[in-house]
Structure formats: C-alpha cells, structure tokens
C-alpha cells in the first residue's frame, strides 16, 4: 500500500529473492515497508557459526541502487568484523558499493564474511585482538555465542 512508488528494480529483486532464494539465506520484505527486509542467514558450514540462524535487518534507502542497502545483524554474534550493535564492516556496504550489486549479492557477501572473518580490518577491536592472539579460543567463543544466541528456536 505504502509502496506504490517502489522502483521496478526493487520489485524485481524482491520477486527473485522470493522465487529463487540463495542457499542458506532468506530475505522477505516487511509487509508495511517493502524497503525493509527481514533476513535470516544460516551459519556457513565449517565455520564457527555453523548451525546458527542469524537474523539481520536490511533496509533499502531512497537512493538505492545508487546507494548501498543498510544491513545489520540482529542476532548477537562474535565476529571481528561485526560490532555489538550488529553493524557490519564490509567494503561493499560502504565505499565499494556498486549499483550492479544486489540484495542477494550483499547477503552472499555477508555469508562469506562469516566463513572468513578478517581480523585485520576489524570493527570490533576486542574480538579482533582475541582472534589474532588466540584464534582457537576466539573460535570457541564464537561457537559458544552461536549456541547461545543463534540456535534457532
């Protein structure tokens, strides 16, 4: 109703996301604001996040696709590139955004980020330190958090 002026591109993307969801990712628009998506990403296998279901929110700003979507983790996650507010340090969400990217690609990138944490470009200093000084322990913590906060239910 409130979305009569939604650009064709967003409609198309949404339709495709719903009809051919990317594996391990679900994104569905909110009923009252088609620019707001509820996202779930399954923790990639062979990562500390395996078995976890992570909730995110994604919002397409007015300028989209000329500006990047805004994405945030809602589920607590122990990851050097994600801070405690769920904000994500990912270049394509910032200066490396390109209008040729899509919601799907963004979410796939985030999924990939879960598989490959990058403590050299941290958003969360403490976690990054932990990761660098004692990766095994950090991974354990990440697993623990996944169990605690992202175990579906």
């Amino acid at each position: 109703m409130a979305n009569s002026n939604l650009p064709r591109r967003i409609i198309k993307e949404t339709q495709r996301l719903l009809s051919e969801p990317a594996p391990g990712i679900s994104a569905s628009p909110s009923e009252d604001n088609m620019r707001y998506f509820n996202v779930m990403i399954l923790g990639p296998s062979q990562s500390p996040y395996e078995g976890g279901v992570f909730k995110l929110e994604l919002f397409l700003p007015e300028e989209y696709p000329m500006a990047a979507p805004k994405v945030r983790f809602l589920t607590k996650i122990y990851h050097p590139n994600i801070d405690k507010l769920g904000r994500i340090c990912l270049d394509i969400l910032k200066d490396k955004w390109s209008p040729a990217l899509q919601i799907r690609t963004v979410l796939l990138s985030i999924q990939a980020l879960l598989s490959a944490p990058n403590p050299d470009d941290p958003l969360s200093e403490n976690i990054a330190k932990h990761w660098k000084s004692n990766e095994a322990e950090a991974v354990e913590t990440a697993k623990e958090w996944t169990r605690l906060y992202a175990s579906g239910a």
């Binding site: 409130a2 009569s4 591109r9 339709q15 009252d32 007015e62």
Partner: protein
C-alpha cells in the same frame, strides 16, 4: 429565612456529632437546615464529605482548590439569595435520605464508626467522595420468605474482577456460556440480618461494576419499600445514593476503565456517562457531537433526498450535520484515483470569499487562490482564541453535579465534563482550543498550493502559544496522543485500550519555546520551497531557516528564531525517534505557531514512524497540503485527521468503528461520514473546477493536442517490413513454444527495435560511434587490443579472451540480457572496455562525474569516450553524419519547426531514446535551428543551466529532452509547443512531460503534437497503451494478467 446561626445551636450540634467536624461545617449545616438542629445533624452525617480530613486534602490539591475558590464566590452568591438555589439544593439533598427514620438512625455511634470506616477507605484512594445523587432503584428479590423493612440498610456485593472474564454486553438469552458470563456482572445486595436479598438491574450493574472496582464510585442504599414477605422476583425499591471519588476527574484512568468495560469489542458504551444518565443528571451543555448522533445517522438513509446535498452541507458548521442523506456514490469498493473525487468531493469553491494577500507577497494571486487564503485564515481563526478557550469542545458535555463536598461550602454546583466518545471525565474545561485549527488543502497538482501557503505565512504569522493565555494553551492544545499512537495502529485494534484523552498530566509542554512556522516537505522539494519563499515573499518579511543535514543545530532557540523553518520528513522522523527522552531538542522542543506538511500523504500509513512523528509535533495550527489526500485507502485520511487533531477521529477505535469498517463492508454511511468530516476542513479544487459564473478557476491558455500521422517512405517501409517480419518470426516461435513470458525481455527488445525504426531506421542499424565495431569480430579485436594498450600494465584488467568471446557470441546471437542496474532489458546499451553491458542512462547515472568513473560491475576505471554503443546484428552500417537521410518522422518534425521559426515560439522535442536525440542534432544543426539538450546524463547544475538558457535566451528555439530525464516540477512555460516523437507505454509519462509547458505561468496557447507512424507498431501501441501500462508494471503472478499480456503482445505483432 436568613436566620442567624447562634453559638448555642452550634454547641448543641457539636455535643452530638463530636469534634470531628469544624464549626464552619456545623454552621453551614444549620444554615441549610434552617436552624433545625436535628436536620442539621443529619445533613452532617448524611454527607460523607463533611469531614475534617477534607481540609488538608483540599489544600493538597492545588488544581482543586482553585476550583474551590471559584465556587466559594458562587456559594456566597447563593447565600445572598437563599431562597433560590439553596432550596433547590436542599430538595435534592433530602432525596439522599428521604426516609426520616433513616435520619434519626444515623445519629447513632455505630454509624459514626461506619462513616469513619468509609473515610479510611476513601483516604486510601487519595481522593474525596462526592455525593452526586440519590435515586430509586428497583431491585429484584432473589430470596424467598426473608423480610426487609422499609429503611433497612442494605450492603452491595460486587462480583470479583477475575470472575468477569468477558463481561457480556447482553441479555440473558443465549446459551449456558452466555449465562455464566452474565453472572459475573450481577450486583447483589444483602442485609446483615438475612444475607442475600436480591440483585439490582443489569443496566446499573454494568455501569457500576467497573467504577466500583476502580474505587471511583461508592454506593449506599437502604430499602424504600418492599413486600412484607419477599418472594422470588419481587420488586424491592431501594434508595441508592451514589458517591464519586474526586480522583475520577483528576487522573488519567482510561486504562482501567477500559480494561473492565471492553475486553471483547471496541465498546463505545462508557460507564460514567451511563451512570449519570441513570441518575437522571442531564448535561446542561450537551455535546454538539455525540456517539448518539452518529448512531442516528446509521438509520436507513433517505436516498430520494439526494438532491442538493452538497450545496446545503458545503459550509456545514463544524461537525454538526444533522442529516446526512445519501447521494449515490458509485465505486465504493476500492479507491482509485477516479474515486477520490467521489470520496472527498470537489469543492464548489465559488461560495468562498476571497481575501487579498498582504503586500509582502510579491506576486499576483488568482481568484481561487485568494479564496484559499480566506478559507485558511478563516479556519485558523476558528472563533478566535479567546472565544475558543471558552467554548466547549463539541465532543464533550458538561454536567452539573449538585453535590456536597467541601467543608467550606455546603452545597456547591460542581461542573464536570464528560467526553461522549471516550467516556473520559474531567473538571478541566475542555475548550475548542483542542480542536483542529487548520485543515487539508487538497487542490490538485498545479494549482499553486505552495504559493497559497506562502500567502498564508505572510498574512498571519506569530510565535507558537503567543496568542492566547499560555496556561490555557498549554493545558489544552496537546494531549498524550503520541504515547498512545502505537496502540492505535490499525493492525492492533484489540489493544486499543487507551484512548487519546485530553490528559492533563502530559509532559510539561509549557517548557516549549514558541516558534514560528514549520514546513515539512520531501527532501526533493526542499530547494523548491526555499526558492519559492525567497522569490515570492518580500525580502525581510519572512526569515527563513533550512533545518537539514548532519550538522543541523538541535537548539530550540535557533529553530524558534526564524519565521519559517523548512525541514524534511526524514529529519522530522529522525528527531522523533531520538525523542523518547523528556529533554529532547530539535523540532520537538518548539511549540510551533503553525505546522505545514507538504505532500502530506507521506504520513498516510498511520503506524509508520513518520506519521507518528508528525502527529507528535506541538503546534497551534496544522495544515496538510496534498493533491492526493487518499492514495490507496480510506485509511490514509485517518492519519491526516490524527495529525490535524480532528476529534474524535484521531482515535482509531472510533474511526474504525464508524468509518473504516462500514466503508469496507460497503455501507455507504461510512463514506458519508467521512465526507461530512472533511467538508468543513478540506478544500479541493481541480483544474476543472469552476467559479460562480461557471468559468474554470484556472484559465490556462488553450492546449491543442494533435496527432500527426506520418507515412513511411518506400525505403523506410521496406526496411520496417523486413525488421517486422524477422521479429514476428521470433515472436511466433515463442508463442509456439508457449514461452512468451519467459522471453519477455527479448520480446520487448524486438518491440523496441521496431519502435526505434519508426523514429529513424538508423537507430536500428548503427550509429557513428559504433561504426568501426559494427563487425563483431572487429569489436572483439578492439577489446583484446584495448587491453594491451593499458599502460599501467595491469594485465589482469583485461577481460579474458573467453569472456569476450562469450559476450560477442551473445551479441551475435542477439541474446538479450538485462542491465545489471535497472534489471530491465537494455535500452541504449553500451559496452564498457571491460566488456560489460549496461543501459547508457543507468551507467551514467551511477557515475559521480559525467566524464569518467568506475565500471559498476568490475570497478575498473572507464571514461565516457571508451564506451561503445552496442552494435546490433544488423547488416546495415552507415555513417549517419555523411549519409544523413531524414526519416519521414524527422521530416515532419522539421517542417513543424520551420513553420514556427519565424514566430520565435519555443518548442520542446521529447523522445525516449537519447540516440534519437543524437540523430536529431544533425538536421537541427544543418537547418541552423538553435537548440539545447536535456537528458538524464546531466547533473543538477548542468540541468539548471540548460533550463535557464532555454528560458532566457530568446534565440534558442528548441529543447531536445529525453522522457527519462524526468524531473517533475521543471517549469518550462517559456515554450509553447511540445512534440512527442514516440509513444511511450505509459500515457501518464507523456502527459507529465506535456504538463511542463501547460501549467500556471503559461501565457500563450499551447500546441502539443504527437507523432505516430501509420501502419506500424506505434499505431497499435496507441490501442494498447492503457492496457500496456499494467503489463509493464504488473507483477508476474496472476494467470489472467498473463493471458492478457500475451494477447496484447499478439496485438502488437499483427
């Protein structure tokens, strides 16, 4: 009368009642009782509020003591005329203890204790008990054989709260479950001696229950008459006196009352008003607008009476439209654009007076604009602030309670106010200040709502809260809506327990700084508002401040300084979200003189953040500007009314019950009601509105719309036919395979080529810059070679051979992919050196600088010169410049332009394809017709420059413009001719383009010519144009739509 109360009498009374009562009490009582000692004692005891404790309580509550002082003078008046009021009061008072035997009985010690108990109980609640009336109630006996004497005291037992899970609104009929529910609301009475005697009537229990449970009301009773021996169902007449706790009128108690009285449905029966009615208290000042009125409207409407409804109600006063008879309104099921007029109506505005704008407005207003100014000023004025402050709000009624309460006054008239919609009660005077001051200016697009608003700003601007006594304003204008809003959202109707009452204990609004005008608009219109104010308001007459951007100050003082503050919905919304705290800054720390929402339909979804943010603003005057007050749903209006404070419609429950639901159920009364609400507060004219004499209000010079049908030349025809045949073969293949919709993009591409061919065959062949790559092999070579040319030696920057071969192969096969940016079939596709295909406009729009930037797909640096227009698999290659041939359409256009050249009349030439605009530059240059060009590749500054050049330089005759260049709101009235060279799927886009010359400010007659090539896809496109619009924008779901689309496509390929 007027007997002197002697000390002797006082001490006599005192010797009986003890020292719990002050001398003053006793004197008053004696006075009332005409110095009859016995009567006076009874008065003291009968009236629970005659108690020493009251003194401190009175002092504790400043609000109430204020009242008290008023009434004291009142009571002095009474004293001077003892015969009048006092006697009347007494007669009412004696009703409370009509039985003389009761009186004597009350002077026993036991009863004093009983009263003390009561006083204990009352003090625990924190208010005072006011006796409000005594009536006879006919109870029903539930026992057999018991005895009840006249004058026997009875105790009432109220069922426990938890027993009443679903208070049934209804009768005892129905099934067992129903009965069980009904039991829970039975109020029984008993005597000490016999136990349960009987029960009181349902109507009493229902209104008493919630009130008693909340300790707002207390009742006492005694038997007045009863059969000697009771039998089941015998009538027992009780004398019941009702006391109301003062907290009822002071505190916000909605929640608890609601919780008990309506858990199942949105009840519109409120206990307190019902109780008052049962007590026989009638409002001395009735609410002008009550639920009853609305229900009367619900009676079958007299539909024959339809004539003249609109004119008679045009100026319907406030909300008072006693009869709403039905003129038939069609198409109620859904609200399409066309239905908007049906719902909101188009005002016969000629009835309105005109008002001259102030001299500070530096432009002429048209007559209908002056009417709007008058109308707006009139609505803002209301009855004038002073009068408004003393006029009762139409939703409230005033009731005089003849009550004994303060120890200082014996009987006083206590005025309480009841909201007939929410059931709220208060002692504060609910004035019309709470009502909407403002309205909805809903004139259609292009009538100049902005300029009318600027005239209003200039005509009357002050600072918020300045024009009336601050205390009044502070108490009344704002209410606690904001906190309630979340509960009122349409999806949560069950939760609507709280009603936005006029809560007096709101945040302390008097801390707000008085500010000027706040204009909220979409971000894109910010600049336009600023420019319009600057050009139309005399310099110095309005100080202007734009509240926007990251570094905007949060200091209210800065905001309050300016006469006009401009801001966006985004800013408003963000300041609202951070507003939770009491000490918020920004827009919410100012009490605005006036708030104007431009494009007010932005707030239409009532539960959106922005809608709540707008409703939460503090302002004396409120306006909505919108050309489309309803966009999708009737509900859109609700948000506007909430913002405007049009009571009681800012209350979702009422809105839903009386308007939304009836409307959705197809009951036209919902619609009628909306119309009656809107009529006085909304002004809507369209371009077709007429004035008194029946002339259109806005006289634009006539517009002559013609279609020029061009004939293709023989050569063009051959080419077109060939292309068409080839396309049709492909299309038929798709049809045969049943894969029309799967190859939708390819089909659109086929159509695109055909359409372009109608403009000029060159468009389909190739253009100058692609010539050297027209051979795809050459193109491939160029890519590979281009890689080697990269000096920086970034070898990996070169697209791989395999990739290029793939791309070239795709191109060769004519495979139609989609643009990675708009996700549509390519339009004017270009290839980057990195071999990525994109629409030219999409690519350039993604660039920050017009000449070079990064490839959106691979982020390699690309300059504009490197772009290659994608060649088609056409066999034709021509150097367009050298081999220039005019197409029949171009020839027709040139003929038109030549004819206009001598008159100096300016023209705009529209096409969808920038490539065609490129081509058109050739003949225009050759014919030496000076032109400028505006397309999507220009940035804002360049655009403005082009528009300025075209408007101001008289020798520039032609503006070449791409339809995609959009930019609604561009004013190009210096041109008086428009040529639309190719039909667009969506006729509205064409119309919008044409609107840029046919609008206010146009002085010359306007000529619009559309070019259609006969016997081609263009002609058939016209036929399906309207349907096409749905085809293009429709979703791929509905089977019917699919079939329709295939049919339409087939039509195009015939």
């Amino acid at each position: 009368m007027g007997n002197k109360v002697t000390d002797e009498l006082v001490s006599t009374v005192r010797s009986i009642i003890g020292f719990d009562y002050s001398d003053m009490d006793i004197i008053r009582a004696l006075h009332m009782a005409n110095n009859d000692v016995t009567a006076a004692i009874n008065i003291v005891f009968d009236t629970p509020s005659f108690r020493t404790k009251d003194k401190s309580q009175v002092l504790r509550n400043p609000e109430v003591s204020n009242r008290n002082s008023n009434s004291e003078t009142q009571s002095k008046d009474t004293k001077s005329r003892p015969n009048g009021n006092e006697t009347k009061n007494l007669s009412l008072g004696s009703g409370s203890s009509s039985n003389p035997r009761t009186r004597t009985r009350t002077v026993s010690n036991n009863d004093v204790e009983a009263i003390k108990d009561l006083s204990k109980c009352s003090s625990s609640i924190g208010g005072e008990w006011w006796f409000v009336g005594c009536v006879e109630v006919s109870g029903l006996s539930t026992c057999k054989g018991r005895r009840l004497k006249c004058g026997d005291e009875v105790n009432f037992t109220f069922p426990l709260k938890n027993a009443s899970s679903t208070p049934s609104p209804g009768k005892f009929g129905g099934g067992r479950g129903r009965q069980a529910a009904a039991f829970s609301e039975i109020v029984r009475f008993s005597t000490k001696e016999c136990g349960e005697i009987g029960r009181i009537p349902n109507e009493w229990s229902r209104c008493l229950l919630p009130l008693v449970r909340d300790k707002k009301v207390r009742i006492e009773g005694c038997c007045k008459s009863a059969p000697d021996t009771l039998g089941i169902m015998d009538t027992i007449v009780l004398s019941v006196s009702v006391h109301i706790n003062s907290s009822m009128f002071c505190k916000n108690h909605h929640t608890s009352l609601k919780a008990t009285s309506n858990s199942t449905d949105e009840s519109v029966v409120h206990p307190l008003p019902t109780l008052f009615r049962l007590l026989g208290l009638t409002p001395y000042k009735k609410a002008e607008f009550t639920p009853g009125d609305l229900y009367t409207r619900k009676r079958p409407l007299n539909s024959e009476d339809s004539s003249g409804v609109h004119s008679s109600l045009l100026h319907g006063n406030k909300f008072k439209n006693p009869t709403l008879n039905g003129s038939k309104v069609e198409n109620e099921e859904s609200i399409s654009d066309g239905d908007l007029e049906n719902i909101v109506g188009v005002g016969d505005s000629f009835e309105l007076e005109e008002m001259e704008p102030p001299s500070t407005l530096q432009c002429e207003l048209r007559s209908y604009q002056k009417q709007a100014l008058h109308w707006m000023i009139h609505l803002e004025k209301g009855q004038g602030m002073d009068e408004a402050a003393t006029t009762l709000h139409p939703c409230w009624e005033a009731i005089v309670l003849q009550t004994s309460m303060w120890m200082f006054i014996m009987w006083r008239e206590l005025v309480v106010y009841l909201n007939s919609f929410s059931g709220d009660a208060t002692m504060e005077f609910p004035s019309t200040l709470q009502m909407a001051r403002g309205g909805i200016l809903a004139d259609a697009m292009g009538l100049g709502k902005t300029i009318m608003t600027i005239a209003l700003l200039l005509a009357h601007s002050e600072r918020g809260g300045s024009s009336s006594s601050p205390s009044m304003n502070e108490a009344f204008t704002e209410n606690s809506d904001t906190s309630d809003i979340s509960d009122q959202s349409p999806t949560l109707p069950k939760k609507v327990a709280k009603f936005p009452g006029f809560d007096k204990l709101v945040k302390r609004k008097n801390l707000l700084i008085g500010g000027g005008n706040l204009i909220v608009c979409p971000m894109t219109l910010l600049g336009q508002w600023k420019a319009e104010i600057e050009t139309h308001a005399q310099p110095g007459s309005l100080s202007l401040y734009v509240h926007y951007g990251q570094s905007r100050p949060k200091d209210a003082k800065i905001l309050a300084q300016s006469d006009v503050v401009l801001t966006t919905y985004g800013v408003l919304s963000s300041e609202f979200s951070t507003e939770n705290a009491e000490e918020n800054g920004g827009l919410y720390s100012v009490r605005w003189f006036r708030v104007v929402l431009d494009e007010a339909h932005t707030i239409k979804s009532s539960k959106s953040q922005i809608s709540m943010a707008a409703a939460a603003l503090t302002a004396d005057r409120r306006w909505c500007l919108t050309g489309t007050p309803i966009q999708n749903n009737l509900e859109d209006i609700y948000s506007l009314l909430r913002f405007l404070r049009v009571e009681p419609w800012g209350n979702w429950a009422w809105w839903n019950k009386l308007i939304q639901k009836p409307f959705e159920e197809g009951d036209e009364r919902g619609l009628k009601l909306v119309q009656s609400i809107l009529r006085p507060i909304m002004l809507r004219r369209t371009k077709f509105s007429t004035d008194r004499e029946g002339r259109p209000i806005l006289i634009l010079p006539p517009a002559d719309v013609q279609v020029i049908y061009c004939e293709l030349t023989e050569a063009e025809k051959d080419f077109y036919e060939a292309l068409f045949r080839r396309s049709k073969v492909k299309f038929d293949q798709f049809v045969e395979q049943g894969r029309v919709l799967h190859n939708y993009a390819s089909i659109l591409e086929l159509l695109l080529r055909l359409r372009q061919c109608c403009d000029h065959p060159f468009l389909v062949m190739s253009r100058g810059d692609t010539q050297e790559f027209s051979d795809l092999n050459k193109l491939a070579k160029r890519f590979l070679k281009g890689g080697q040319e990269v000096v920086e030696g970034e070898a990996n920057d070169v697209p791989s051979r395999a990739y290029i071969q793939e791309v070239v192969q795709e191109l060769r096969k004519g495979e139609q992919g989609e643009c990675p940016i708009c996700l549509e079939a390519f339009e004017d596709a270009v290839l980057t050196p990195c071999a990525h295909r994109l629409c030219q406009e999409c690519l350039l729009a993604s660039w920050r600088t017009p000449t070079s930037s990064l490839c959106p797909v691979c982020r390699k640096s690309v300059s504009r010169q490197d772009l290659i227009t994608v060649p088609t698999d056409s066999r034709f290659q021509i150097d367009v410049e050298k081999n220039w041939v005019e197409s029949s359409k171009v020839a027709a256009l040139l003929l038109e332009l030549e004819n206009l050249r001598s008159s100096g009349s300016k023209s705009i030439v529209f096409s969808q394809w920038t490539a065609f605009l490129d081509l058109l530059q050739i003949p225009l240059s050759r014919s030496k017709i000076p032109f400028v060009r505006l397309d999507g590749t220009l940035n804002l500054q360049q655009r403005e420059k082009v528009i300025k050049q075209f408007s101001e330089e008289s020798d520039i005759l032609v503006l070449l413009m791409s339809l995609k260049a959009g930019g609604v709101g561009i004013n190009l009235t210096s041109a008086s001719n428009a040529f639309v060279l190719d039909p667009w799927w969506n006729p509205a886009v064409e119309e919008q383009a044409v609107m840029r010359i046919h609008r206010i400010g146009q002085t010359k007659s306007v000529m619009i010519k559309r070019f259609i090539v006969k016997g081609t896809v263009e002609e058939r496109m016209e036929a399906v144009q309207a349907r096409k619009q749905r085809l293009i924008s429709g979703a791929l779901t509905d089977q019917e739509v699919r079939t329709a689309r295939i049919e339409e496509l087939k039509m195009l390929f015939t």
